[in-house]
Assembly symmetry: C2
Homo-oligomer: 706 residues x 2
Amino acid sequence: MILMRFMKLLFVLLFLVFQAAAARAEDGYRLWLRYDLISNAAQRASYAGKLNFIANEYEYPGTAAAEEEVVRALKGLLGKEVKRVKKAEQGKKGIVFRLNAQEEGISEEGFKLNDQGGNILITGKTAAGVLYGSFELLRKIQTGQKIEGITMASSPKIALRLLNHWDNHNGTIERGYAGQSLWKWYELPERIDTRYIDYARANASIGINGTVVNNVNASARFLTGEYIGKVKALADVFRPYGIKVYMSVNFASPRLIGGLKTADPLDEQVRTFWKNKVKEIYTEIPDFGGFLVKANSEGEPGPMDYNRTHADGANMLAEALKPYKGIVMWRSFVYAADPKGDRFKAAYNEFKPFDGQFAENVIIQVKNGPIDFMPREPISPLFGALEKTPVSMEFQLTQEYLGWATHWVFEAPLFKECLDTDTHVKGKGSTVSKVLDGSVYPYRLTSMVGVANTGSDRNWTGHPMAQANWYALGRLAWDHGITSSEIADEWVRMSLTSNTPAVESVKKLMLQSREVYVKYTSPMGLHHLMGEGHHFGPEPWLVKAPRPDWTALYYHRADSSGIGFDRTKGGSDALGQYAEGLRKVYEDPEKCPLPFLMWFHHLSWDHRLSSGRTVWEEIVNSYYTGAEEVLKMEEAWQKVKTDIDPEVHANVAARFRTQYKEAVWWRDACVLYFAQQSRKEIPSGYPLPTRTLEEVKKLVEVYHVR
Amino acid sequence: MILMRFMKLLFVLLFLVFQAAAARAEDGYRLWLRYDLISNAAQRASYAGKLNFIANEYEYPGTAAAEEEVVRALKGLLGKEVKRVKKAEQGKKGIVFRLNAQEEGISEEGFKLNDQGGNILITGKTAAGVLYGSFELLRKIQTGQKIEGITMASSPKIALRLLNHWDNHNGTIERGYAGQSLWKWYELPERIDTRYIDYARANASIGINGTVVNNVNASARFLTGEYIGKVKALADVFRPYGIKVYMSVNFASPRLIGGLKTADPLDEQVRTFWKNKVKEIYTEIPDFGGFLVKANSEGEPGPMDYNRTHADGANMLAEALKPYKGIVMWRSFVYAADPKGDRFKAAYNEFKPFDGQFAENVIIQVKNGPIDFMPREPISPLFGALEKTPVSMEFQLTQEYLGWATHWVFEAPLFKECLDTDTHVKGKGSTVSKVLDGSVYPYRLTSMVGVANTGSDRNWTGHPMAQANWYALGRLAWDHGITSSEIADEWVRMSLTSNTPAVESVKKLMLQSREVYVKYTSPMGLHHLMGEGHHFGPEPWLVKAPRPDWTALYYHRADSSGIGFDRTKGGSDALGQYAEGLRKVYEDPEKCPLPFLMWFHHLSWDHRLSSGRTVWEEIVNSYYTGAEEVLKMEEAWQKVKTDIDPEVHANVAARFRTQYKEAVWWRDACVLYFAQQSRKEIPSGYPLPTRTLEEVKKLVEVYHVR
């Protein structure tokens, strides 16, 4: 009879499990925090034996968040409810939180993990440290690492680790390819979407401690009382997770919403407007982070509208923020429209003269390259150029120039290529990383930001694999010494599969993906070949645009004599902005690494390269092999099918079809166009495009139709 | 030993169930197709005994979709896998599909449900009929109705039952408040979001058989080969569910993408462009539905740009579509900017003269009211005015003027109010419903459409309760005789709770919600008082706008002498466009129903009404009681807390907070402004607003800041 009842109960349970499984394939919402049951029973049991309780004697929101996360994670990973206690239980093993403001060897946000008599001690100077330590411990379990005898200490190398959201108040995201803004402004402050909490969890898990919630092309609306109240509601959600909110501000706000006739930074009424506004913000959000400013750039207002300098503008805001320890992140992305100039040089020329003139709570936020997030750029010459003014790194996670949401591009190698570049400003070893973390010059502020690729799509990032870029930014901002391979390894194990051969296959795809993208879009340092305005697809023939430096011709300068932008002394001398050691890497066309060649040299089509090919042959070869490599990636992806959730696998597989179609589009467009410019034939051995240049040109036109 | 293994298995299963439950609270994604296990075991067993198999001997995609749905639904509702067979099993009871093209008593899409010797026979003339019959059967089970001995036949009263998506190619939705477009154009045609299938299922379940995928303010981009290929991919997904795709077209497409210098509908090249384009579409989508056109309206191009008529324009497209049985849905929403005119009269004046001149595959699509989806409008005088030209009803599901996604407004009562209005054009009983379904005049085409309120938000519609408006549109298009209460009853039982007292409470809230909204925004027939452009919040003081008929003053005409728009003979004589029987309902200010009074009469503030109050007192009373009723609704919602999923309940509760805040905003804005216009005091007994008119005016200004 009992057995019968058991059988019946079993049936009902089985059905419920079946239903639950059927109802939810993996939709990617959980990101790298999946916490699925560890399938290896022995491994699961081993962890379970060591993790019987979580001892948290503190009442801080940050430690509560950490405790919640640990309980949630272990319920998933180990299939057991870990007991919540105040003090470590005698005779059992578990996790113990420890706060010690005087702890040595770690910074404010740092943590230690120590096996102490069988218990795992998570020590931090602050609740944030304990939270980060908890996520580190969970990551070790998620990736199947040993925790017995653990002893480690970790502190972030960069103090400000931020996402920048280019989100508008109407819900659109500038250069967003994953749905609408996460922030539902019309529902705030009353309704808190549960997604805000999961956003905070994800960021905290990778050490991100700040978020700029609105677009750098900023609406003044965010500075109204209504919207400050809405931002406050977000700040309240994020605070336990160690995340501060920041806002992008419109420099003309005193005019737009303040009732003033000017926004002149030296005008007393303007200064008062900002002081009052800052006070209003801090009344609502006592730990508000500060302002991000895009000024006098691409039509945005700024101090130069009043014949003032960037320093005047930034310092005025800095003065208003200083009493509250707020900061100003002032973007260096400014460039005048000059058909004879070189946009490459603009930021350096604008900012270098003001080094030392910025207030102490100002940091200059610099894009990784001198132009604009191209698939490959040399570093911005501003890195290492400002000795007395802290400089921040701005990477772009959203794939504006990297194939939007249909191309698989793992960006860690791009980030690392930049971070590892040696500026030589204080001799060999003055890498960009070391400039950023304040070890080349003693910067008061250190910062690394990623322009977010998140949106309201169920899986956050559109392309399932783009989650890894968000992950990589956080991990590198914490520790720029981690390798791309290490990041990929962690992410794959946490997000896709723990089966090592499959992990290795996917990692290989990730690590090659950016180079493949470069090959079929912008080989050998070619850049800015994309469609006008929308930046979708190829348009290398673009010669007319609202500004000369928004065309393709401005950059590739291809004609019958050759191709490339001469930035040597004989040309624009942009190379002169680098320290000698770095300049030498690029200035000799015979020695300049091929991936950067067209960034610095104009060479004849027949110029013979170290590869043995001529410039023309190398370009053609790159476009063809790049497109073919997409097919090979797709084949490799098919081989891991059984190791990946079916919905995720099918999603990526479908995007490969689009990626290949567009890779061939790029190939045909660029090869046919450059063939026309060079008056060369496509070398034998490469199948001729099955369409004419005129036909390919029509493709991008579709995307210009409003 | 066996028991031990059972115990262990039981534990693992229990854990998995727990995990699955924890991981997914009700997020609203499943709409009214939740299919959760019927909690009443006796009832569940009763259904289960009758539903042992599903016999489907056909190979049509439509019957396959029906079979899938039945299996999926019964797995959820009954907790059992229903056996799939070709023929009814002897000695067991089950469901049998039956296709019979000659079946009498039903139309092409109709169905019969019959208990035949214990089996439930679902008969249709087409696969679509079987699909609709399957959903009807499931609805009966979902709502706990008896199926034993069932015998019913049902056919749609309206042939074309459509959603209109105002979705743009960049993913934004005009007047959308629930996220981004469902259509991911850059992923199509390669990637098929699983959501497309669930969209089709939801529509089929309520009888919707067509969808216009893009905005009436149409981009010509949708007519390029690229985008036709993308639309084809959607059509392929929707086809098994009986749903045809339609497109909105930009009338200037021959110029914009055809390389022509004109879009003159009488130009031969233009006509050839459209013929070729239509042919191209039908090559890809053989069952393409046709075109929806917004022409010469609010700046959109149209035939009048070439001194041609609406008939010229529509007929030209109709000619191109005719060989393929495609149709033209030509919108009547046109109005010239005339400060001295009455926009009310525009559509009738534009279209009435052309009655009889439209091709046979043209239908005129008319918004329910003469202005633009106001909270309450009298019917458009075009209903019943066109005898020889079919007329379609355009309702708006998205809450452009109904509080966006934070106000709870169940729209069925609004729809029914319009459908039940008697036009009197062929004597008493000539209701709008009967005009639409072709029983007043023998229309060749019958149609009812809803401007969709769907978006990429997880729960599809932003406000969880707004799902009911989508549901209502489908149900009413199928059978305009269903009552609002019946629709609400079905929807609540399928979507929220089966506990009858809670069902009654929620129904009561739904049925009063629209009237409450009217009370605190636009009482007694006041209309067009909302914020300029964005249509958010109150702006009754608006006197300047790009067009006079986009202001508020144009409509309310409030000054010290009185308020309201005189549309009687002595005024604009808009009433003259109605048949006498309907005109009489409104023309005498003493007899005109109060809800419509200000639509037709300008009255002094002291005019005494049938309510016993003066006009001024009635208006004030309405604003105050309306706002208070939101609080009462909120209280009633709290009382059903235990019957509703916690996430859904909390979501709605939070939106009530916003709704009340905004109701008070509307109240204060309108009462203070009309007090100023009327030079009257707020009567005693009503608490004075705690802010000044100037302060309230600033609120809407926030939402005008770009």
